[in-house]
Symmetry: C2
Subunit: 246 residues, 2 copies
């Protein structure tokens, strides 16, 4: 084995660690129901918040804050804001889809034991931030990575997380007293759950199908298909069956 | 132990799986150098792409595509676009910071064996998408989650990933022949590396410090501090030392 080969292997996780990473990725779900009342300990909460805080951030600006919401008066106000945005949303669907849309449960604001709003401070360490010069939304993307780290860590801890995106930011900002430069990125419902569904709910309900990954891959430029240009990869992607689905 | 307690434990990962998740989160790095020449097998590439494809997506729209770029003519064009955006960026820093900025290596476009551009198709399954009605950028955030899944899976496989954000989208779109509705979300340099630095490079270089997480947490509303309002959590967060740092 070459020295390079040794380096490659050195940096690779051992099988049991890899298993954990892929298991979290494949079994994470967007949770809106099935919360039960178990309290989240400070120890577990600290672990998932530290995981979020170790997300990648553009220019190391760490633009996030975490607002932990337990107060029911505030949660009820957020729930009203959700209902308002959802009634607008309902009218946007064509009539043939509207009835089905209305049957989906799209939030767990009041049933979950904890809500977390993850924000982005657009001025932190600014105005000039390494890596945000050509793409001003990179700070928002950093906060999204924090959301996703929290989500995966929560899955490992057995905690369900649901991202409620049907709320207007201006209403949420008012309820949470956010200053102008602080933008809400994600409003999350967090808690222990009776179970994690085996597949995304919109897939199980037949709303949309899982796309075939091999068709989403191009080589070098848009629409230069993988089947013709990298057939070995195409076959590998097409035949892959993960062993982590639960 | 209560029935609820049993459910909580049932959904929690076993210690070895948890270890893998947290190890990936804490040891992932934004890689710009130290690439070496080992080829990435189709098997490994397929695994990290499937991980990306299993990211959460708003309304299950799966808005991503993956453009795998090996061609050197295209990579040289992307590198020129980087140099252009970076020369603009350099002038944005105040004179006292400019010299230090110019010393940072901020991309590995030509040295890494593979570049991957992850995009967002803003029209996929649209125009009306569940969850994107009040927040039109939720599809972009979904593609960011795909980027981050790929990044974590790559870390587990021993592959370094660097996100190059100093390129104007309009130039990148032209080079990669993207249609109007396809937006580049991340341009990644991917390859095996000699090592993963123990800390983010901008932290080690003293550009910016790691913020104290406990100060970034508020309770119920902005600026309602955690120390006064949830002292047990504040202490837990402050005293937490992860055992996964490498």
């Amino acid at each position: 084995m070459s020295a390079k080969g040794n380096l490659t292997i050195k940096n690779e996780f051992k099988e049991s660690d890899k298993n954990g990473v892929y298991r979290a990725i494949y079994s994470r779900r967007d949770i809106r129901g099935q919360f039960h009342g178990d309290t989240i300990s400070e120890e577990v909460l600290s672990r998932i918040l530290h995981a979020a805080h170790h997300a990648p951030s553009v220019g190391f600006m760490q633009p996030w804050n975490f607002i932990l919401i337990k107060n029911f008066k505030i949660r009820r106000a957020v729930h009203e804001a959700y209902k308002h945005a959802n009634s607008e949303a309902t009218l946007m669907f064509s009539e043939d889809k509207r009835e089905k849309y209305q049957k989906f449960k799209l939030e767990g604001i009041l049933e979950s034991p904890l809500n977390i709003c993850i924000t982005c401070d657009r001025n932190r360490f600014g105005p000039t931030v390494i890596g945000r010069t050509a793409n001003p939304d990179m700070d928002m993307f950093s906060s999204v990575c924090a959301v996703h780290n929290l989500w995966l860590a929560a899955r490992a801890e057995g905690l369900g997380v649901g991202w409620v995106s049907i709320i207007h930011n201006r209403e949420l900002s008012e309820i949470l007293c956010l200053p102008e430069n602080i933008v809400p990125v994600a409003y999350l419902c967090v808690g222990y759950v009776t179970h994690f569904p085996p597949k995304p709910e919109l897939e199980s309900a037949g709303w949309l199908p899982r796309l075939s990954l091999e068709k989403l891959i191009f080589c070098d430029q848009w629409k230069t298909d993988c089947q013709t240009n990298w057939p070995k990869l195409y076959e590998e992607v097409q035949s892959y069956r993960n062993s982590y689905q639960e």
